[in-house]
């Protein structure tokens, strides 16, 4: 099962090198959640109309729904993982992860609803904080930004509390 995985320290080094390349060659940090906010704007266009989306301050100024460096980076991340999974033979359709099933049962609907709500809360938090695990956690932290280290520590604490509340009853160590 673990055959596709590389040493986590090696992967960390390579992500660090990738950061150095994006900073120096493209003058861009690594980040994901702005791209997802841009995608959200693109999805809102058919419902709200182009004018209303363009009139929204956030989509007009902070996350313009268009293909640019940031949104294409997100698309690239999707393709990269897909190719890596297929090439390594680890691509597998799965709806309910193991420790979720052990705790909450094998209902696909239950898992999807939770993932949907979790995802909504996650991205709202990421936009409020102006970054996610990539933009703050890696790119911001490596620049020693006050905002990013605050985010990292608070996010981690919040995750620990949430995980204890949800999964403490999982007896399996």
């Amino acid at each position: 099962m673990k055959s596709h995985r590389w040493n986590p320290y090696l992967v960390g080094v390579l992500i660090g090198v990738l950061s150095i390349l994006t900073f120096s060659l493209a003058d861009k940090p690594i980040g994901i959640s702005t791209g997802i906010a841009q995608a959200a704007g693109a999805c809102a266009i058919p419902v709200m109309g182009v004018e209303d989306v363009a009139a929204n301050t956030y989509w007009a100024e902070k996350a313009v729904p268009a293909w640019d460096y940031g949104s294409l980076f997100v698309l690239g991340t999707l393709f990269g993982a897909l190719v890596s999974a297929v090439v390594s033979g680890s691509f597998k359709l799965e709806s309910v992860p193991t420790i979720w099933r052990e705790r909450f049962g094998s209902s696909v609907m239950k898992r999807f609803v939770a993932a949907f709500l979790g995802g909504a809360v996650l991205i709202f938090g990421a936009r409020l904080a102006d970054g996610c695990t990539s933009g703050h956690g890696i790119s911001g932290a490596l620049q020693l930004a006050v905002s990013s280290w605050t985010f990292f520590i608070v996010m981690f604490a919040s995750g620990i509390v949430t995980a204890l509340i949800l999964f403490r009853r999982n007896s399996k160590a």
Binding site: R5, G12, V13, L14, G16, S19, I20, F23, S24, L25, A26, D27, K28, I36, A40, A44, N56, T57, F73, L75, G76, L78, F79, G80, A81, V83, L93, E94, S95, P97, T98, I99, R111, A114, A115, F116, G119, A120, V121, L122, F124, G125, A126, R127, D130, G131, C132, T133, I138, S139, G140, L142, L144, A145, S147, F151, V154, I160, T162, L166
Partner: protein
């Protein structure tokens, strides 16, 4: 400020985004962090993959960018320390990350690896993004200005030379890795 190494500009940035993103996706998958179990177990201190990947990336990237910045070969891109927004956002993020089981980047990568729950959560992320866009004017007026320290970096909080902070970062990472190694040795394999 334009740096001499930053030759990727204009339309080429689009291809660079796709290429760099692709490499990032490969690395997230190979690192094992496109797995719900790995992420949630980090928060339960049963698996330390996330911390290992992140702290190594921070140290290597941090020292590298610091050196390049010193040679005027890279710019910093600091996000503003709007402290109330950052803290509230981080609290929501931690809750969302455990329930969703991925962060935005690993979620997108997990979709590529075939995780359908990651796709369900992606639709949730789109809805969350729309909700934020609608709330933005109010948040910009009422939340973002509270305790806004500006684009501050940790070295600006003290009079210590900047390299001391980076040395501290390396020591911090080394301590964390040593603690993790000791912890993994003493606890039974899951």
């Amino acid at each position: 400020m334009h740096t001499t190494l930053a030759f990727i500009t204009g339309p080429n940035l689009l291809w660079a985004g796709l290429l760099f993103g692709f490499v990032f996706g490969v690395l997230l998958h190979r690192g094992g962090v496109t797995d719900y179990n790995v992420i949630v177990k980090q928060f339960l201190f049963r698996d330390f993959t996330v911390l290992k990947v992140m702290f190594t990336a921070i140290v290597v990237g941090g020292v590298g960018v610091f050196i390049l910045h010193g040679q005027d070969l890279a710019n910093f891109h600091i996000k503003p320390a709007t402290m109330l927004a950052v803290v509230l956002g981080a609290v929501l993020f931690g809750i969302g990350m455990v329930i969703y089981g991925y962060c935005p980047g690993t979620g997108v990568a997990a979709i590529g690896a075939g995780k359908l729950d990651a796709l369900a959560g992606f639709f949730g992320m789109l809805v969350g993004g729309i909700a934020y866009a609608f709330s933005y004017d109010w948040i910009a007026a009422n939340i973002l200005p509270v305790a806004d320290l500006g684009k501050k970096r940790l070295p600006e909080l003290s009079t210590l030379p900047e390299w001391v902070w980076y040395a501290g970062l390396v020591v911090l990472a080394a301590c964390i890795f040593a603690l993790v190694a000791r912890f993994e040795k003493s606890s039974p394999k899951s």
